[in-house]
Symmetry: C2
Subunit: 237 residues, 2 copies
């Protein structure tokens, strides 16, 4: 069975909502990886961008097909075309971002500005290596470390002797020697770096009792509902 | 003096590097605000997206002008066209994102999927109100609270009785009653919510002695340089 068939099967089980959510998330990964390919002068990262672009195309066709099947009336069709817009915007964002990787054809010394731009902008990219004495060693990115919540950095890729893992899942376990590519503010990346090198002990997430978490979420939902109502009022004035 | 003249003066003092950095940062703000306009059904946020789109156009023209003036030879011109590519990609990303706001023309009940997509995706948007008993009250987003590092949420806008502040600077001081629009993972937004409501005491950033911070940064730079060298080796094989 070819990859193409695999993809068609993979997307066949997804709802329109799942397809669109996947498109939005993929477009964000593509933007990150496109900038990262320049930052680290890496054609392997650029190659992954091309693969994800292909995934986006498959998702787009799957979404169009599903939407066409669902529209039963003129009103339906109008509403559906609106839904398509989010997916198409995500696809255009990906196209624009992936064009950035074409800059790799310039030798690095011929594009001195690029690293400056990436170092000056709010969101920066950095790679850190997990040291043998780091608390991060042997722990999962999500359940054990909650890297994003604890460091405010997003791990966009990990490289080790098995190769690259792009946009790793929460259960991905970090090992000594792993090279972690992350995005964040300068301060957040400094913090991640201190944890990865073992210079500082990792600050592990606190376990929240389930009922407390649910209660908080209910409170939040209530406040937010009220605020949304208010805002809607303001806008329709 | 018209706004147009103001903008031209503002951008006239900026270097190509500064212009491009501003374009990259603005494109990221536009993507956030475009999704947020749908999430909160807000035509004021959509209006800000249109203003930022206009800024992007001005930045693009300023960048092109500056680049044309700088190119003195064929080699120069080739290199410069590469530099333009990052700015143009940022501009295309912004165009794609701002097309999302056109969905606001559908009544909210006619686009039930949208909030689901935005709630299911990795990066979520939420608004929280700063309560009178919150530790965040009366403190600056950056120096005092280091919101991004401490909560892993990015504040994309604040609304209070003076109106909206989009992409607020670090010295922006939060007041009781301020409505804060933030982006982050569900867990990070729950944490921000607990701080904003005063349900949990804020965890303030630790002050790092200056010499220690500099030493760490030097260590990091050294490790990263070595990794970049390695990676370059791999790619040119």
């Amino acid at each position: 069975m070819s990859d193409q068939d695999d993809d068609e099967l993979r997307y066949a089980d997804m709802t329109v909502l799942e397809l669109l959510t996947e498109m939005k998330d993929t477009s964000e990964t593509i933007v990150d990886l496109a900038y990262a390919s320049l930052r680290f002068n890496s054609s392997s990262i650029a190659e992954e961008v091309r693969k994800l672009e292909k995934d986006m195309d498959d998702l787009k066709y799957a979404m169009r097909y599903r939407v066409m099947l669902s529209a039963r009336s003129r009103d339906d069709a109008k509403q559906m075309s609106g839904i398509l817009e989010v997916g198409l915007a995500a696809d255009r964002i990906s196209d624009a971002a992936s064009s950035i990787t074409s800059l790799l054809r310039f030798p690095q010394e011929k594009r001195p500005y690029i690293n400056n731009i990436l170092n000056e902008s709010d969101e920066k990219y950095r790679m850190v290596r997990i040291s043998d004495v780091s608390d991060m060693k042997g722990r999962t990115i999500g359940p054990d470390l909650a890297v994003e919540a604890q460091t405010a950095c997003r791990i966009i890729a990990v490289k080790n002797r098995h190769g690259w893992t792009f946009d790793p899942e929460g259960f991905f376990k970090l090992r000594a020697g792993d090279e972690v590519f992350a995005r964040g503010s300068a301060e957040s990346l400094d913090q991640l770096s201190a944890y990865a090198s073992g210079r500082e002990p990792y600050e592990f997430p606190e376990a929240v009792p389930d009922d407390k978490a649910e209660e908080d979420a209910a409170d939040d939902a209530e406040v937010e509902e009220a605020l949304t109502e208010e805002l809607r009022g303001e806008d329709s004035e």
